[in-house]
Symmetry: C4
Subunit: 317 residues, 4 copies
């Protein structure tokens, strides 16, 4: 493999016709953003070759009336979208239970991003998620935007959601996911104040990193739109076999890179979508495929955040 | 397989570090909604391992002028969409006859959801559907919404459709499907009053269940958007081979679950879409694949509803 | 195979529990529309087992300024969409020449639906299409709607297009295709008056049929949206391999049916879409696959129309 | 293979029933547009059988606030789309570095179309692209339209972008790509004045050609929408395996044609899209597949433009 270091070596030896020659300062940028991938080896603190993190959104039941669904958005005003409500109910009646059994079968633990109102609607199910060893992360009190709230209103919105999760499941969330990833300018400060360790509303890297919030370290555990059921499957863009193919290709490349570099892959499923039979079959295919590769650890995002915060070699921005 | 019961056993024996321990009351919720899939074994009353139910919408010919079609929706006002009308006519000239031959070839009986105006437009075809052993279910008098009608108007709308089906085919419908599944607040009461046994406008479960309507049992035989030609094929989201792949994956997972649990799979075809050569080829591939698995029964929805209503172990909501 | 005749035989012998018995009048409907597919054997007059007809739209160069294209439809008013014009130009610079070579390689003749203004823009290419043995059919003088024209204006619109084709290529069109299939209430009468033998703007059957226009026979050679590059490929709904898969499945089913019944399959390509390298590769795969089946004739639509008009067993509506 | 020359020979010998006979003048059109593909053999000046050219857009970081992204376009006015910004940042943090390593691994050089503001935002990365042997082409100063600018404003817009690239990377751009290919009526004149050799905003051919601009030769190196990640992948139309299949089919056909004719294939990747793990895996599959064919050269577009301008057999329009 010709990586960048070898390239520089060869370029220095052989010259590159018509090109300016590299000078040593060129590759020492003031921030880390522009370094080529394999310019230096990095690795996971716990010896994993690669880390895969699965998300399971627990939202159904917490949605507002007439929330967006696969049904035509032409309902007359003043009426309730009854079939749409049953589409959401599938999430807690079949979706989450099926996925819980699937994670056990596969032997992996996941991060469940829980909307507060969904937790209150189906408390036993929320408890069971935690009892079976999964992480309960916060996902707002309601199924609504927070980027447009005042500082105080947003803080209450986040804290109410945390309290719902904590009171019902006994698990104190340390991770946060905003509705459609849309945090506002105050969100990270509030999360830091409330004792959170990490958030996921960032797509910029294939590995976790540390940022300063209120002058303290805060972890970012990146999320995915590429391996996410809501855009691809619910958007009716992909059949489930295409989802399998695409996620396997994502893994293949990251696994190859993980020989030299700390790599994290994220996959995400929503109760009423990823919990369908066809998607759980797809998930089984994907995870079993990944599990045939040595050195891959499936981790909850709280584990990743803690490992990142304690690792002096973590990327800092 | 690590199912929930084993998990609880292991959790009780080994403890789950950092987790609260399960207490017995946790899993006895007041309703059935939040039980994990395999917490208790359930099965079909007739000994089937799994039940598959196929729907065949009989709607073409009953559509209003200039109904939505694959043609660009830019027709000037005051003109008739002539090619669109021929697209619909395909449903009764080729689609239904082709599917009828296909069901016979496959040896299965299906449920035909019949729009009253379509039945009146092509009475011989409606009769033939019933003569060949399929169920005639009601699907409204016309191709229009009913959720926004008054109680009396909706009752007449449903009853007129029933009468059309009964008068033409000799078959009395006992099942109902609303236009785009959009029932209103009165629909189920009206159906109960008119002697219906079940409706399908619910996506919340992968098995039938019983609800109380007017204090009497009423069956819900769940429908599907995941294995439905109208969103996936007519929406031009999937090629027909993708449809095959996705429906097979749906079956694979449900069949695996059916070892422990009562599972129903629904597949749906519309005359002008599912009746095309490519979709009937897809259907043959799907059904033949399913038929290689032991213990799977293809059933009409009236059969499923009756079995559900008589089965004391059916889920009640 | 259990076809309808066998079903009736079995039904008569064994009875069908709970069903009304067929009476002989039931299957003698007043029109042919509702007969099941295989109720009687039909065949092609020339002994073909099945007929496949390919269309090649010759439109590029004739489009209006800023016609719809894959580019974002957000161009400021008053400006010309220059890249879009090059996208269309591909149709005559590469698309049609490539397809012409491809048809020769495959040994088939096709029907080219020619927009008058496109013919005038690239007369040599129009001539070459005819010289290489393909049919020149009329497709309007311009790339615009005709359903909303007055009788006289529409007649001129059609006739001007015919004259362009005839003057340039020496071939007199006998078939017609309206823009987006959108004929008006007068279109067929005008076509009959102008000496046309057939039109294709009908999707209702998988075989040609005869209608009465001005009390004279007129042939309908049905068109396709299912095996058509404009909706599936240009709409970015399908990759080219999906197109191959879907069209092969369409063929498989029609070929099976053609054992008992007159079946026609239509496939359609537009110069700037179907003429791309990836689509011509797809076309080669499809046609070569079809050509491995015995008894399949590739025919121009004028040949099909003539055979239909002369065949006393043709369907009449 | 029956090509056009053979057809004419056969047509001349055997006659074509009912067709006018070819006359020699027919195929000598006044411009080259309408010649069939294989009417005369053409080839690449450097002896390549076929040329493949890869584009790598370097745009991320240069986008305006709240630029279009995969997130719902429903952000309230006055707020910043924070997750969307991280989606773009992926382009320079992971996408470009990963692609740079991938090109080295594959041993190919590409053309990087650089937005001026993106270059200024990440100068080290821009330098590294050039250092590793790739072409820096101009792509405007900002991520915005230029077709609607005055002559002077457009000239400044282009020149500012050129200066940014030149000052940072030391490479003087000779090729141009307008935002969404949307050049205006003055663009080519300005490019010629500024010393550019070629532009790519043309989809009309599968090989480069020469046009006259200000009475001087100017090269057109055609671009692609068919093998382009932005419409197919970012538009969520294709899974990455479909992209692989489609691009391979494009190559197969062009490679077959390249036996007789000068053929160029273009493939295009954008930093934040084509730089994802799944797309780089797709790219590796595609390029390795192409590399198993003899006679295929991967070339930067400046190389293609120079070879075209010096080749007397190049197509002229």
């Amino acid at each position: 493999m010709t990586d960048r270091r070898n390239f520089i070596k060869k370029a220095g030896t052989l010259g590159v016709a018509g090109m300016i020659l590299p000078n040593t300062s060129l590759f020492v940028s003031e921030n880390n953003n522009t370094k080529p991938l394999f310019s230096e080896k990095t690795k996971w603190a716990d010896g994993s070759r690669m880390v895969v993190s699965v998300s399971m959104q627990f939202e159904a039941g917490g949605q507002p009336d007439n929330a967006e669904s696969p049904f035509p958005q032409n309902l007359e005003k003043g009426y309730k979208d009854l079939p749409s409500a049953t589409w959401y109910a599938y999430g807690y009646k079949e979706g989450i239970p099926r996925m819980l059994d699937s994670w056990d079968k596969l032997g992996i633990k996941v991060t469940s991003h829980m909307v507060g109102s969904a937790v209150l609607k189906n408390p036993q199910l929320a408890k069971e998620i935690v009892l079976r060893g999964h992480e309960a992360a916060a996902h707002g009190m309601d199924w609504s935007s927070q980027y447009n709230l005042s500082y105080e209103a947003e803080k209450k919105f986040i804290k109410d959601g945390v309290d719902a999760v904590k009171n019902i499941t006994g698990f104190t969330p340390v991770g946060y996911n905003a509705n459609w990833l849309r945090r506002g300018e105050n969100t990270l400060k509030i999360l830091q104040e409330l004792g959170f360790l990490y958030h996921i509303d960032d797509l910029s890297r294939d590995e976790p990193f540390i940022i300063k919030v209120n002058n303290k370290d805060f972890a970012v555990v990146p999320y995915t739109l590429r391996c996410n059921d809501i855009l691809l499957i619910e958007g009716k863009n992909f059949s489930t076999d295409q989802f399998v193919n695409q996620v396997k290709m994502e893994f293949d490349q990251l696994y190859a890179e993980s020989e030299f570099k700390r790599r994290q892959m994220s996959i995400s499923f929503h109760d009423r979508i990823g919990g369908s039979p066809q998607m759980v079959k797809a998930t089984q295919d994907i995870v079993k495929y990944i599990q045939t590769h040595t050195g891959v650890s499936f981790k909850r995002k709280d584990e990743i955040a803690k490992m990142t915060l304690e690792d002096k070699t973590s990327i800092r921005e």
